[in-house]
């Protein structure tokens, strides 16, 4: 073999190994986190964790029932406020928008997507917390909703654009107005994808801590309604992880595991919905 061929083959082997190692690294990081969480969190996970309130400092045991429910409540608020706005803006971009205006909206939306979550927290703080002078679940919901919107807009737009134009034509040729075409043909055709995008958006904000620190704050008891501070898993993890008690550390690991499971299952659910909608 000539030197040139040897050189070419060895470059090939080196590059193959490098890319392979990088790919393996990505996967192993996830599995490492997962394994570590299972190891540390799994052992402290028990029935009490899901059913009891946190115990006062110094006592062992107790659970994070309030934080689990609180996280779900915050996600519900984010969904109720953020998803409709994201959906409708996505419909506008895909179906109605003109060239220039759409470009501006799309670009702004991408910028919003890139705004650090802590900045969105400050925004929600000054918008909702400052006027009433106390933290509230509502403020946390607003912060998360703002983060849900850009992801939903983009995924909605993409999935609507994937619906073939021939279907719109078919509906309009039968006498459907533009809105009726969108509502009865285009949106149902894209519903699986849109729903997936929404679930992924919610899964993404489920783990956000920074915007909740000074909006929803936290609560060691059951929340007193939407206008009062509310506990959430990410903030609990933060609080418990930096505390000096071993028992709290164990509970933080357990909370991390629960949060990861929540995100993982909504991801799986999203993929399941998408796979099923494609089969139709």
């Amino acid at each position: 073999m000539s030197a040139r061929i040897v050189w070419r083959k060895s470059v090939n082997i080196v590059m193959l190994s490098l890319t392979g190692i990088a790919a393996l690294g990505v996967v192993s990081v996830l599995f490492f986190i997962l394994g570590y969480l299972l190891w540390n969190g799994g052992t402290s996970l028990n029935w009490a964790f899901f059913t009891q309130l946190p115990k006062p400092v110094g006592e062992t045991g107790g659970g994070m029932a309030n934080a689990i429910v609180g996280s779900l409540k915050l996600l519900l608020l984010a969904a109720v406020m953020g998803l409709p706005v994201g959906l409708m803006a996505g419909v506008y971009l895909a179906e109605f928008g003109g060239k220039t205006f759409s470009f501006v909206i799309r670009y702004t939306n991408d910028l919003l997507n890139g705004v650090p979550s802590i900045v969105i927290g400050i925004f929600a703080y000054s918008l909702v917390v400052l006027p009433v002078k106390h933290f509230s679940a509502l403020a946390g919901g607003v912060a998360l909703a703002i983060m849900v919107v850009p992801v939903t807009v983009r995924s909605t737009e993409e999935f609507l654009k994937a619906v073939p134009g021939s279907m719109r034509e078919a509906a309009m040729a039968l006498g459907a107005s533009k809105w009726k075409t969108i509502a009865t043909v285009v949106l149902p055709a894209a519903s699986g994808g849109i729903l997936t995008g929404m679930l992924l958006a919610l899964a993404r904000v489920a783990g956000e801590t920074a915007p909740l620190l000074f909006t929803a704050f936290s609560n060691r008891y059951w929340g007193q309604g939407w206008g009062q501070p509310i506990a959430s898993l990410p903030v609990m993890i933060y609080t418990y992880a930096i505390a000096p008690y071993d028992d709290w550390h164990r509970q933080a690991w357990a909370a991390g595991l629960v949060l990861l499971a929540l995100v993982l299952f909504s991801n799986l659910g999203a993929r399941f919905i998408l796979a099923r909608s494609k089969a139709v």
Binding site: S166, A170, L174, G175, A189, V280
Partner: protein, 268 residues
């Protein structure tokens, strides 16, 4: 082919005398069409007789499809388009009509089968539902599927997705869907170009049966199809109508040399 003697096409020049028997469904006078600054149709005038099939032939880009789509105003969905001239449906100007009502009366079947991602039943019922039809849907769905010669193949799987059907079945489903709202005119934009010869024959047979109740205009690239399935043929070139007469005459003794060149395959 012409089992019914009444179905034998009447020569163009006799049309006026035979008005009671051969009414005009669509009358197009001096039509001009523009995509932005670009003119696509130039001063086109054409009469489309009731319950007959009129074929539109011509090379790609000659404006056949554009012309067909002006008849139910589908071109309005494209930005920056403009229509000039007069199109009358049963003596009524369609440009001044409510577009929803117009498209109910002038149905359309497209080049590629485009069923909705819904069940077979819901596809056929779609037009009725959006038009607020309150009667018994089941009967009309069955009737439309029968008219499209698809009933026997799908009667047991009405709840199945339309995508489970073959291409030819899908196209007949699209025809059934268009027929459900009982249009007076059916526009067919190359309905067989994506289908195999056997399925094409089925669709042509179907068109022949539909002539009892429906006026049809079909755009086709297939000259045998125009010769087989139509009563009248219009030849278009560069956005202009070159020749229009009964099909048998246009294909045997065309008067314009450009028509002759096209149908004998010398260009296009």
């Amino acid at each position: 082919m012409y089992a019914n003697p009444l179905r034998v096409p009447v020569p163009m020049e006799n049309m006026t005398q035979q008005k009671t028997e051969l009414a005009l469904r669509l009358k197009i006078v001096d039509l001009n069409f523009f995509y932005g600054p670009k003119q696509a149709i130039f001063g086109l005038s054409l009469k489309i007789p009731t319950n007959r099939v009129t074929a539109l032939i011509g090379p790609s880009g000659c404006g056949k499809s554009t012309f067909l789509r002006t008849l139910n105003r589908m071109n309005e969905t494209i930005r920056n388009t403009r229509v000039e001239g007069d199109i009358q449906l049963d003596g009524q100007d369609i440009l001044g009509m409510d577009v929803v009502g117009l498209r109910r009366r002038v149905g359309m079947v497209f080049q590629r089968p485009n069923p909705f991602p819904k069940s077979i039943y819901d596809n056929v019922a779609y037009g009725l539902r959006i038009n607020g039809y309150k009667g018994r849907l089941d009967d009309l769905v069955e009737q439309s599927l029968r008219r499209a010669a698809l009933w026997d193949e799908v009667k047991d799987v009405l709840k199945k997705s339309a995508f489970a059907l073959s291409g030819g079945q899908q196209q007949r489903l699209c025809i059934a869907r268009a027929l459900a709202v009982d249009p007076e005119v059916l526009l067919l934009d190359e309905p067989c170009s994506a289908l195999d010869p056997v399925t094409t024959a089925k669709i042509e047979e179907l068109m022949f049966q539909l002539k009892d109740s429906c006026t049809m205009a079909i755009v086709t690239h297939n000259m045998q199809q125009a010769a087989r399935a139509s009563d009248y043929t219009a030849f278009m070139l560069d956005g202009r109508l070159i020749e229009h007469s009964e099909t048998s005459r246009l294909f045997t003794t065309p008067t314009d040399p450009r028509t002759e060149a096209y149908i004998t395959g010398r260009f296009g």
